[in-house]
C-alpha cells in the first residue's frame, strides 16, 4: 500500500472552513504550488453482502463528514462488484468496508480483485470495520487491506489514520 508523506497540490491558504487537515499538511510541508488546488479526501463507506446492520456505517459516515471529508455511502446489501464500481467511478481515496456478518474472507478479496482490475488498488486506502476475528486479520492484510478497526476503535484514531495514510494521488 502506498503510504504518503504529504499532499502535493495545496492551496496556499486553504480557506479555513475547508478541511483542517489540508491546512495542517500545508504547514508541515511549508510548500505550495503555483497553480491553486485543493485536496479533499473522499471516502466510500460500503456495506457489502447480506449484512443488514448499518448503524455503525451511519455513525462513521457522519463522523467522517464532520472531520471534513466527503463521504459517499453505498447503502445496504451491495455486491462486491457494486462496491468496486462505486469506488472506481467516485475515485475515492479511502474505501471503508463495514462487515458484521462474518463473510469478510469471501467478500473483501473479491473487492480487492475488482479494484485491481481497474488499476485502482494501488492508490485506494482500504479499511475494514466490524467483527473480524484476530485469526483473519493477517489474511485480510495480505489481500491488501491497510487497517482493520474492530469494536472499541475510537473515531479519532480512525480519522487520524486516514489523514496520515490517505494515498497520494497521481
Amino acid at each position: 500500500m502506498d503510504r504518503c508523506v504529504g499532499f502535493s497540490a495545496l492551496a496556499p491558504a486553504a480557506s479555513a472552513k475547508i478541511t483542517a487537515n489540508v491546512k495542517r499538511e500545508t504547514s508541515q510541508l511549508g510548500g505550495m504550488s503555483a497553480e491553486q488546488g485543493q485536496r479533499q479526501i473522499r471516502c466510500l463507506v460500503a456495506k457489502v453482502g447480506l449484512d443488514g446492520h448499518d448503524r455503525g456505517a451511519h455513525v462513521i459516515a457522519r463522523a467522517l463528514r464532520d472531520a471534513g471529508f466527503e463521504v459517499i455511502y453505498s447503502g445496504l446489501h451491495r455486491s462486491p462488484d457494486e462496491v468496486v464500481q462505486a469506488a472506481v467511478q467516485e475515485d475515492v481515496d479511502v474505501l471503508g468496508i463495514s462487515i458484521l456478518s462474518g463473510a469478510h474472507n469471501t467478500l473483501v478479496p473479491k473487492i480487492m480483485d475488482g479494484l485491481a482490475e481497474y488499476d485502482a488498488s494501488d492508490d485506494t486506502l482500504v479499511l475494514v470495520g466490524g467483527i473480524i476475528p484476530d485469526d483473519d486479520t493477517d489474511r485480510l492484510r495480505e489481500a491488501g487491506v491497510a487497517e482493520i478497526f474492530g469494536p472499541g476503535a475510537s473515531m479519532d484514531e480512525m480519522i487520524d489514520y486516514i489523514r496520515e495514510n490517505a494515498p497520494e494521488r497521481r
Partner: protein, 371 residues
C-alpha cells in the same frame, strides 16, 4: 504545470496528456481521475480540460433540479435505466451540499441508483458543493465535458435547486427539468425564486400522492399567468374585463424586458411521474425529446451554446483577473499600508482601488493601441 503532478502530466507523447488519452480510450479510471483533478483544481487541470474540448459536443445534457426529497435521484436512476435499454450510455453528476463549517459532506444520491448497479456504462459521480474558488458551476461544466468527451450519449446533472449557484449549474444543461413534489406549498411558493424561469419541463413526481392534482393545476395556472404577460394581450376569457390594466402593464414589461418574441415559443409541459414505480418515465423522455427537437429546429441549441461559451470565457477571465490582481497586490507589499491610510482618513477605498488598478489599465491601453 508545477511540482507534485509529474507522473500524469509528464511529457505528452503525441500532444495529448496520457490521462486524456486513456479517457478517450474508454478507461473508467482515467475518467474518474480527470473529474477528481477538475474538482480539486489540481495543477494542470486547465490543460486537461482544454484537450477535452475538441472531443465534446455530442452529448445531450439534461439538468434535473428540485427540492430535497422531491425524488430527483430516483427519477435519474429510472431515466438512466430507460436510456440504457435503448442502448444509450449515460453519465450522471449528482451534486449534494457540503457543510459550510467543516467542508465535509455526505453524498447519498448513489444509494438510489439501484437499477443500474454493476453497469459500468452508467457513470455516476457524486460531487459536493464545495463552494470554493471560482464556484461550483465551473467544475460542473468541466466535469460534463469530461463525460461528453468520454462518449456518453446522455449526461444528467442533478442538484438541489436552491440558490443562485445551483441555478447556474443547471444552466449548463440543454434541457432543464424541475421536479415539484405534491403539496409543496401554495401558489405563492411557485412565484418565488426563479423556478418558473429556468424550467423547460416540469415533473410532478409522486403523482400518486394526495394533492398532486392541485399541484399540477397550480403549476398550469402559474405558467398561463406567465404566458399572459409575455403575449401582451387578454385572449383568455376573464382578461377581457380588465383589458386596460392588463395591456398597459403587459406593454411596459414587454418593451423593457422581453426580447423580440420567439417565432416558436416553448411552452413547458407538465409531466406526472411516480419515479419509484417507473410510471411516467416514458412520457418524460418523450417530452424531453420534444424539447430537444424544438431546440434544434428553432436554432436555440446553437444560440444557447454560444451564450454558454461566452459566459464560460467570462467566468474564466474573472478568475484569472482576480489572480492577476492578487499577485500584483502581493508584489506591491500587500494592502496593509493602504488600509492604514484609509483608517486614518487620508484616503478612501475607492481611491486605493483606482490607484492599484491604474498601472494595469495603462498597460492594457498601451497594448491595445500598439496592436
Amino acid at each position: 504545470m508545477t511540482s507534485g503532478d509529474s507522473d500524469s502530466v509528464s511529457e505528452p507523447t503525441d500532444g495529448l496528456d496520457p490521462l486524456i488519452a486513456d479517457l478517450l480510450d474508454g478507461k473508467h479510471r482515467a475518467l474518474a481521475r480527470t473529474i477528481t483533478k477538475i474538482e480539486n483544481r489540481s495543477p494542470g487541470y486547465r490543460d486537461l480540460v482544454s484537450q477535452l474540448h475538441a472531443h465534446t459536443g455530442d452529448a445531450d445534457v439534461i439538468g434535473i433540479t428540485g427540492s430535497p426529497g422531491a425524488g430527483k435521484s430516483t427519477l435519474v436512476d429510472k431515466l438512466a435505466a430507460t436510456y440504457r435499454e435503448a442502448g444509450l450510455t449515460v453519465g450522471v453528476i449528482a451534486i449534494d451540499p457540503a457543510s459550510p463549517f467543516t467542508g465535509g459532506a455526505v453524498l447519498g444520491d448513489r444509494i438510489r441508483m439501484a437499477s443500474n448497479v454493476g453497469d459500468m456504462d452508467v457513470f455516476f459521480r457524486s460531487m459536493s458543493a464545495r463552494g470554493t474558488l471560482g464556484g461550483l458551476s465551473t467544475a460542473t461544466t468541466d466535469a460534463v465535458k469530461a463525460l461528453d468527451a468520454f462518449g456518453k450519449d446522455k449526461v444528467i446533472v442533478e442538484t438541489v435547486g436552491a440558490g443562485q449557484n445551483e441555478v447556474d449549474i443547471v444552466r449548463t444543461a440543454d434541457t432543464v427539468v424541475v421536479l415539484v413534489p405534491p403539496g409543496s406549498g401554495d401558489d405563492v411558493q411557485m412565484l418565488k425564486a426563479g423556478i418558473l424561469e429556468i424550467a423547460d419541463l416540469f415533473v410532478v413526481n409522486k403523482a400518486d400522492l394526495e394533492g398532486s392534482d392541485r399541484t399540477v393545476s397550480e403549476l398550469r395556472e402559474m405558467l398561463q399567468l406567465r404566458d399572459g404577460d409575455v403575449e401582451a394581450g387578454g385572449h383568455h376569457g376573464f382578461a377581457e374585463t380588465t383589458v386596460d390594466v392588463d395591456s398597459e402593464r403587459a406593454g411596459e414589461s414587454g418593451d423593457a424586458a422581453v426580447d423580440p418574441p420567439d417565432a416558436d415559443p416553448w411552452d413547458p409541459p407538465i409531466v406526472e411521474t411516480v419515479a419509484d414505480r417507473g410510471e411516467g418515465i416514458d412520457d418524460l423522455i418523450a417530452a424531453m425529446d420534444d424539447h430537444r427537437t424544438h431546440l434544434v429546429e428553432s436554432g436555440q441549441l446553437e444560440s444557447k451554446a454560444r451564450t454558454r461559451y461566452a459566459e464560460e470565457i467570462r467566468t474564466l477571465l474573472r478568475e484569472d483577473t482576480r489572480e492577476l490582481l492578487a499577485a500584483e497586490i502581493d508584489a506591491r507589499g500587500g494592502l496593509d499600508e493602504h488600509v492604514d491610510a484609509v483608517l486614518r482618513r487620508e484616503t478612501d477605498p475607492y481611491a486605493v482601488a483606482e490607484a492599484i488598478l491604474e498601472p494595469l489599465a495603462d498597460c492594457v491601453t498601451d497594448r491595445r493601441e500598439r496592436d
